[in-house]
């Protein structure tokens, strides 16, 4: 089985991109960087999964993710999703880009205490049959970094109901500084997914999150990238939403 290619979009100031690339490699995938000005679908030809990494795309000026959402590649991705040719995953700021681009429902507002927070948060896997959770156990608790100033997810009552009903809330936060317990969701068809967390900082022992074994020993983020690589390679066909 050859290593599946995973696209990573390099928005200006997507500060987590380098770590996402590393995480993809460690999970057995081959990262392929994509320029945000890409307007041609062939660049995506051999990709079945594209990640929008987190950070501060375009400084988060205007609104978090808003300027990235206007980049040409977002239209290309939207069309590929429409044609059911690709899965798009937004991590942290990437999730904000997806809501701004209208590819996921809802939006992000300022944290309950309106300022930037960088904290470790315990999350619960609420659905493990998605392109970013298939390597986790259902109900598993995972500890990841969560960061951002506008990281509070919000949606209308109808949107929330729809998300819950269809099981599209994939990951929940136990105690988040953002004010929202919804951390990871997917679109109804499972082709667009977002997670308001940074799993790429929990992939290597000693450089991860806090863990009973010692400071920085937590590597719960690995599962997410393994899930993504699996989804891309369709190694584990069953249970992967969108297959």
């Amino acid at each position: 089985m050859s290593e599946p290619n995973i696209g990573v979009v390099m928005f200006d100031a997507a500060t987590d991109a380098a770590s996402v690339i590393r995480a993809v490699e460690l999970a057995g995938g081959t990262p392929v960087t994509l320029h945000p000005k890409t307007t041609v679908a062939p660049d995506l030809a051999d990709l079945s999964v594209v990640i929008l990494p987190g950070g501060f795309s375009y400084g988060d000026y205007l609104r978090a993710g808003a300027l990235a959402a206007t980049q040409p590649i977002m239209r290309v991705l939207a069309e590929a999703v429409e044609a059911e040719e690709i899965t798009v995953i937004g991590l942290g700021n990437g999730f904000q880009v997806l809501t701004e681009a209208g590819l996921l429902p809802g939006a992000f507002v300022a944290n309950a205490t309106p300022r930037y927070h960088h904290t470790e948060v315990d999350f619960i896997i609420a659905n493990n049959s998605s392109a970013m959770t298939n390597a986790y156990e259902l109900g598993q608790q995972v500890r990841l970094v969560q960061k951002g100033a506008y990281a509070q997810y919000t949606a209308t009552a109808q949107e929330l109901e729809a998300l819950e009903e269809r099981g599209n809330v994939l990951i929940r936060a136990k105690d988040s500084a953002t004010g929202s317990d919804i951390a990871g969701i997917s679109s109804a068809d499972g082709l667009v997914l977002g997670l308001m967390a940074s799993p790429e900082y929990a992939i290597e022992e000693g450089f991860g999150t806090d863990h009973p074994d010692g400071p920085g020993m937590g590597v719960d983020g690995q599962g997410l990238f393994v899930s993504v690589v699996r989804a891309a390679g369709a190694i584990n066909g069953e249970g992967v939403v969108g297959e």
Partner: protein
């Protein structure tokens, strides 16, 4: 050069943590006249040349497409600055 002002506010039903945080400080600062604060954005667009109805329409389009996120915000005002 003329300027078009575009104003965007959080929808009344959407959480406005920034407004709320200011709100909470008002009594402490001695401002009891105001019962609520909401915080939005104001944009100023410089127009080269005359502000025709067409240009104003383009400003409305820009506001809708870029300046306001329709799921949380609405356009409170688009007008030529006095």
């Amino acid at each position: 050069m003329p300027t078009i002002v575009v104003e965007v506010m959080p929808k009344p039903e959407v959480l406005d943590p920034q407004g709320k945080a200011i709100d909470a400080r008002l009594p402490e600062l001695g401002f009891r006249e105001f019962s609520a604060v909401r915080q939005g954005k104001r944009f100023e667009l410089t127009v080269e040349g005359e502000v025709t109805d067409d240009v104003l329409d383009r400003a409305r389009t820009l506001a809708a497409e870029l300046f306001a996120n329709p799921s949380t915000e609405y356009i409170a005002n688009v007008e030529v600055a006095k």
